[in-house]
Symmetry: C2
DNA sequence: ATGTCTTTGTGAACGCGTGCACAAAGATGG
DNA sequence: CCATCTTTGTGCACGCGTTCACAAAGACAT
């Protein structure tokens, strides 16, 4: 997962463990898909399968929210969608600013999943004066000078940083000073923030390196002496995969696009 | 962090805990920055600060790799860079394919951090026939029909999925069947893969929802009765932040750009 | 050579998260 | 109203990851 929380040791927020909070959006997505298919109830077993988790874990997760299920029947889909949405704070609108409108920033701005989940792009901010006024995803880019003004007048509490690494900390400091208390960081840097501010980072490079580690391990496992790796292991994987691929008919839950509008 | 591993319970890969593996890229980045500044050695304390972790944790992490430090002195930067690179499998080149060249796919293709870390974009693949042949980031986009051929002839073992959610599982199945054993998934779907295949997901929507949860909690904490939240809490945060911002002079480690070339 | 001072490497304790397995709850049918 | 069957909610145990705290190792000065 390209995610990684930063500071803030635990989160007994109200007894809800951090690990559970991280899974709630997953459940919500699966439930939304069921809701769209007008499915009235689901068992923990079914929902767990859809979300790709253990059913016992799911039940325990829900138990932190309260007893919303009916024994012998399962969970009411609509009710659960509401409860989770409320718990995650998605019943209100969250204005978000994106700083750094490069390729990634623009891609994020175009992300359709924002509005559908209660997030609204309040502003796009870039340091390049040439970008100012240019429309991206239907919103005019504003210059960094306006940052504080934008944050304060819109009551923005969530900021997305998509700048180069060199500018990230500075942007972060300005966001925080202006009142932002949650930051999603796409820049490959460790951000330092005061207590009370949450930072989550998304780092492509780190994700790839973790995959490379496991990939190397797999290759080395079945090729004892050093030779051309990633070949002997491959044949076996392909065989196992062919069968799995053939059995894969289930279609994607919803028509959602990834973190960005694909062509 | 916007990351999340999927199956594969533990990873005693060779005794190296999964949590440690996930931090190695972080250390590597900090070390690379030190190396560029020609710093010969670092103490665990200094390096830990740069990587944003606890120094005891860092030492324990390194202890899994072997005893590469010198008591009373610290760690040799160059040597450590080499050891971590080797452990992560970055001494070899990893060809990568990106499937789904929409806004995000294109942004990823433009990501400069690929090559610098041992990853090479072997091909860009999209289902839209109109995209075929069109150059993105200097590479001609190829049609999905070529997928199996590309994977096999280039020996690709890592695939990046940036398609809409509806197409993700199908693309995943084809990648796996063709020999890919590591997948980085940007589509908002749970992917089902056979054993032996690693999946990591990056999900903007989930990250934002997690932030929203904490944001809501912060707002509710200091505003007992329901009213206009996220306002009283803000003032305190701003005050605390101003001081922190003023004390922030350290410049970004390297000139790396985020998951994409910014304008 | 010896003593001091710094910094590593790790034993041990603790806490969180996971998964098993089962009792309790409630629906459903007779 | 009772029996049966399904599915939830959770007590418990286990394992991983984190952190503390300190002994051992080595550099460095005298």
């Amino acid at each position: 997962m390209a995610t990684g929380r930063t500071h803030r040791p635990a989160t007994r927020s109200r007894g809800i463990p951090e690990a559970t909070v991280a899974r709630l959006p997953l459940y919500l997505r699966a439930l939304t898909a069921l809701s769209e298919r007008s499915v009235p109830t689901v068992s923990s077993e079914e929902l767990a399968a859809a979300a790709g988790v253990n059913s016992a874990k799911l039940r325990k997760d829900f138990s932190y929210l309260g007893s919303y299920g009916t024994r012998g029947v399962g969970y009411d889909v609509e009710y659960l969608v509401y409860q989770i949405s409320r718990e995650l704070g998605l019943t209100q609108d969250w204005p978000v600013v994106i700083v750094g409108i490069g390729n990634l920033g623009a891609a994020l701005a175009n992300y359709g999943g924002f509005a559908s989940r209660g997030f609204r792009v309040a502003a796009l901010i870039d340091a390049d004066p040439a970008m100012a006024g240019k429309p991206v995803a239907g919103i005019a880019v504003q210059h960094t000078d306006e940052l504080e003004h934008i944050i304060e007048s819109n009551g923005v509490s969530i900021g997305v940083i998509a700048t180069p690494a060199g500018a990230a900390q500075q942007v972060c400091d300005r966001l925080v000073a202006a009142g932002v208390t949650s930051i999603l960081n796409f820049a490959p840097t460790v951000l330092t923030v005061p207590d009370g501010v949450d930072v989550r980072k998304v780092d492509l490079s780190i994700e790839l390196q973790i995959l490379a580690f496991h990939e190397q391990r797999k290759a080395g496992e079945e090729t004892p002496e050093g030779g051309a790796p990633a070949t002997s292991g491959r044949a076996a994987a392909v065989a196992a995969a062919a069968e799995a691929a053939a059995a894969a008919d289930r279609k994607g839950p919803d028509g959602d696009v990834p973190a960005v509008m694909p062509a």
